[in-house]
């Protein structure tokens, strides 16, 4: 069980990086970056998990009840926001590249047309 969750993190990270390396399409590349970043959500949430604990919400719950770590959860929230901003910018850049060169294959656009 301990190994499993970290293996999932490593696997999601690895397929994201692999996709980014072999990518022939900038939109695909942006999605691969998002997949890679998703591994950090899993890692953060898995780190904060405690056996038998509940969510750190104490509405109608007695104070002192075991709850999972709230700090990593708020870090995950930050992580998600950053991920959204990154994918928005990368997609906008991909659109701009397409407008300039008519292609979104990174191999087609690294020659300068003057």
């Amino acid at each position: 069980m301990t190994i499993l969750v970290y293996a999932v993190v490593a696997w999601v990270f690895a397929i994201g990086i692999y996709g980014a390396i072999i990518s022939r399409n900038l939109i695909h590349l942006a999605l691969c970056l998002t997949v890679t970043q998703s591994s950090t959500y899993i890692l953060l949430l898995a780190l904060g998990y405690k056996h038998g604990a509940r969510a750190p919400i104490f509405k109608d719950v007695k104070l002192g009840t075991a709850a999972v770590d709230p700090v990593v959860q708020s870090l995950t929230l930050t992580d998600v926001v950053v991920s959204v901003t990154v994918i928005a910018l990368v997609l906008a850049l991909a659109l701009d590249v397409h407008r300039q060169s008519g292609s979104i294959d990174p191999d087609d656009i690294n020659t300068l047309n003057g």
Partner: protein, 246 residues
């Protein structure tokens, strides 16, 4: 695999090996699953409710204990939206055509009903963010999603009522600015930046959190407007390509 891809693989291999090594080294030192006891997390779980009167400890961290970081986070979003706008927005006429991709009346009716449901859900998520799971970030995204549904089910012209830069830009600026203004208000009152001026309020109700609920709403407005600006920009560059290539 093309030769180009194979070449890229070889170039990437040493970097990936290094990154993978660091990743595995880090993971091998991670605590056993379910056994982590972070000092700060355990402490906050104990003191957040008595201290801040908010029953959602995660939101208390986001808007109070780490409130300054959240301001930076909000401006990361703001800056990236400005970047997207700079890249995609230029002089263009709003498209008149491209309407009504939805053929079925049943889908349209159901979709329009869902717009209201999702809007209420988003507002509820934001409003009760300090009490139950939710908050300004989550609620703002849901509200934006509900409005985007207008385009999906009713087409471009009804969407244009909401998806206009002149409408969205002020809201985005307002959301970002009021977060800073609330921080500065505390400074003017002689307290530390972002200090909770309104007091903690009543635990477990909509009136808990004091200034935190105002920060929460500032973020909700900022996030909803930022998402709608992003959708608008991408939608316009998709729908109006012939005006943009010249």
């Amino acid at each position: 695999m093309s030769p180009r891809q194979r070449l890229r693989g070889w170039i990437a291999a040493p970097v990936v090996a290094l990154l993978g090594g660091i990743l595995l080294w880090g993971l091998s030192g991670a605590p056993a699953f379910g056994e982590f006891h972070g000092a700060y997390g355990d402490l906050l779980n104990r003191i957040a409710v008595p201290q801040r009167h908010t029953t959602n400890v995660v939101t208390a961290i986001v808007f109070d204990y780490r409130g300054f970081d959240t301001m930076g986070e909000e401006f990361i979003l703001f800056a990236s939206v400005v970047g997207v706008v700079l890249l995609l927005r230029d002089i263009r006429e709003p498209a008149g055509g491209q309407d009504d991709p939805v053929a079925s009346d049943a889908i349209r009716l159901f979709g329009i009903l869902m717009v209201g449901v999702i809007l209420v859900f988003g507002l509820w998520l934001a409003a009760f963010g300090l009490v139950t799971p939710g908050g300004g970030f989550q609620g703002g995204v849901a509200v934006a999603g509900g409005i985007v549904l207008v385009f999906l089910v009713a087409g471009y012209r009804p969407w244009r009522t909401f998806g206009r830069e002149t409408l969205l830009d002020p809201f985005e600026g307002l959301g970002a600015a009021s977060y800073v203004a609330l921080g500065l208000a505390a400074l003017i009152a002689g307290a530390p930046f972002l200090h909770n001026l309104l007091g903690p309020g009543t635990t477990g109700t909509l009136l808990s959190g004091g200034s935190m609920s105002l920060l929460n709403w500032a973020v909700a407005v900022e996030v909803a407007a930022a998402n709608l600006v992003l959708y608008t920009e991408f939608l316009e560059s998709y729908l109006v390509p012939h005006l943009r290539t010249s």
